[in-house]
């Protein structure tokens, strides 16, 4: 038993080697043993906890709830008799069905044609998808696109789009010209941190009152 538990634990942690035969043996054992199934669940929970991968809402026993829901589902024992069961109607229905399928196929084709036409039209109204080309050394930057998550009124939209593009372009340029003088010494890093803090406080103190 303890050997099985250990194997299961290793399997859950992904440290069980790659021999598939032992893994499938283990999986068979889990399938046939409720105790191992409980362990399976708790080991995964423990692993997720240790790796800080737990979801915000932990839902235990989803499987049980689904099983319960399925049991409380009403059963349909016998189909109701409908007008389709009349002989004449049942002979006609297949023809109608076929005709219907043809109609569906035709309408899908029409929809496709319309859709393709729509797709091929240039999308003019999409917000923030083109940056003006920038002359000089900033050239060669790709235009940025912007997914906005808050709606903005239409009036200042063009102006805002221009601003955002300018800011994005500048941000990229700043990153391109960033200069880092790193040293391999850890003490130097700490010193650098302290120095930076001093620089910050300088800015705070030296400013005119």
């Amino acid at each position: 038993m303890s050997q099985k538990l250990e194997n299961l634990s290793a399997f859950v942690d992904g440290e069980n080697g790659v021999s598939s035969s032992s893994n499938s043996l283990l999986l068979d054992a889990v399938k046939n043993d409720t105790e191992l199934q409980l362990k399976w669940k708790s080991y995964h929970l423990i692993r997720d906890g240790l790796r800080q991968e737990l979801p915000v809402n932990v839902n235990f026993d989803i499987a049980d709830k689904i099983a319960q829901a399925l049991e409380s589902e009403p059963l349909i024992l016998a189909p109701k008799k409908t007008w389709r069961d009349l002989r004449l109607v049942s002979n006609i229905v297949p023809f109608v069905k076929q005709g219907g399928q043809m109609a569906i196929a035709a309408s899908v084709a029409v929809a496709m044609i319309i859709g393709v036409q729509q797709l091929n039209q240039a999308d003019v109204n999409q917000p923030f998808n083109a940056a003006p080309p920038i002359p000089g050394i900033q050239g060669g930057l790709s235009p940025v696109s912007f997914d906005q998550t808050r709606s903005i009124p239409n009036s200042g939209a063009v102006e805002q789009k221009r601003r955002i593009n300018a800011y994005m372009t500048d941000h990229k340029q700043q990153l391109r010209f960033k200069i880092i003088q790193s040293s391999n010494d850890k003490a130097a890093i700490l010193k650098q941190n302290i120095k930076n803090e001093e620089v910050q406080s300088d800015i705070v103190e030296n400013t005119p009152q």
Binding site: E15, S145, G156, Q160, I180, I203
Partner: protein
């Protein structure tokens, strides 16, 4: 199946016996391994030790790595990354974008030369390549230890090699997290995922091939250092007397640049501040509100960067960088005039 109490007791006894025997043994083994790697002070099986191993490998090995960079909303970008150390101990590095007209960066020691389409080639005096990946993090992971937590997750298989997974999480949740997979054998990077608060993927680097060689790649012998472009000199930066103070800077971040600049395309003067923690760089733009220009508050994402523009007091503040919008908002709201 250990049903009887008697069995249980004997089982426990054996277990405790095992613990008594094995734990001291293990401690001994650990002591041995820490002595072995005495140049770094972390136990050999810790996440920190793995990152130190990574930075050593990145700086000292001769390697050729192909990787693909994936960002939301953009095509995948394949890169070639080579590194070599010559007989004199000089580091040489090359990064090449393989699609389209390309972009090539060559670093020889502390001189980084950029060759890009539509731009005359130029060089910077820097020890890292400003590229699609956080070079600074690869060389100096120690910088992050103050503000990030490192968790050793487990092993898996990446790019056909055994890999060690390490999770890097911002301690105060003010920045995005990283999942890093390092090669078990060499410690080099195999995969890197940057993820947001709900563990959604923001950016990914996936290595597709990794070769470590005894000698540097022949490419490096072809470079003539004298032929590389001149280093751009930005001149000494004038200390800026800014009337603005940033009240909140996320832990571990420092101001690495602060100046007044004219925005190209707008022609307006803004105060620029760059914050960095050695992994992500964040740009802040401060501009006093002019009455005739109406600007709306806005928050969104551009590829994997967060962009936030808000009106705060007399200022329009724009923040861009790979950080959660909530953090950007806190930084922006903390900016005040010094009295």
């Amino acid at each position: 199946m250990l049903k009887t109490p008697h069995n249980k007791i004997s089982y426990r006894f054996i277990l405790s016996l095992l613990i008594y025997v094995f734990v001291p043994l293990q401690v001994c083994a650990q002591e041995e391994s820490t002595i072995e790697t005495s140049n770094n002070s972390y136990p050999s099986d810790s996440a920190q030790a793995w990152l130190v191993k990574m930075s050593d490998a990145v700086k000292s090995l001769n390697y050729t790595i192909s990787f693909i960079l994936l960002k939301p909303g953009v095509d995948s970008q394949p890169y070639l990354w080579r590194h070599g150390v010559n007989e004199d101990g000089l580091e040489m590095e090359q990064l090449n974008l393989l699609n389209g007209p390309g972009r090539e960066v060559v670093r020889i020691g502390d001189k980084v030369s950029y060759f890009e389409p539509n731009v005359p080639p130029y060089s910077l005096q820097s020890s890292i390549i400003n590229g699609p990946f956080p070079s600074e993090f690869f060389q100096l992971p120690e910088k992050l230890m103050m503000s990030y937590e490192f968790i050793l997750v487990g092993r898996s298989r990446i790019a056909g090699r055994a890999a060690q997974q390490i999770r890097i999480i911002s301690k105060d949740k003010s920045r995005f997290g990283l999942n890093v997979w390092l090669d078990q054998e060499t410690g080099l990077l195999l995969k890197m995922n940057m993820f947001g608060q709900d563990a959604q993927l923001l950016e990914q680097i996936q290595v597709t091939s990794l070769q470590v060689t005894k000698d540097p790649d022949p490419f490096f012998t072809k470079i003539e250092p004298e032929m590389l472009p001149e280093v751009i000199n930005f001149g000494p930066s004038v200390p800026l007397n800014s009337p603005w103070k940033i009240g909140y800077i996320p832990k571990g971040m420092t101001i690495i640049k602060r100046d007044l600049r004219r925005l190209s395309g707008l022609g307006e003067v803004v105060e620029y501040i760059m914050l960095s923690d050695g992994l992500v760089d964040v740009s802040l733009y401060l501009q006093e509100i002019q009455s005739n220009k109406q600007q709306e508050n806005l928050v969104g994402t551009v590829q994997s960067d967060t962009l936030l523009t808000i009106k705060h007091g007399e200022l329009n503040i724009t923040i861009i960088g790979k950080l959660p919008a909530a953090t950007a908002n806190t930084i922006a709201k903390s900016i005040q005039r010094i009295n």
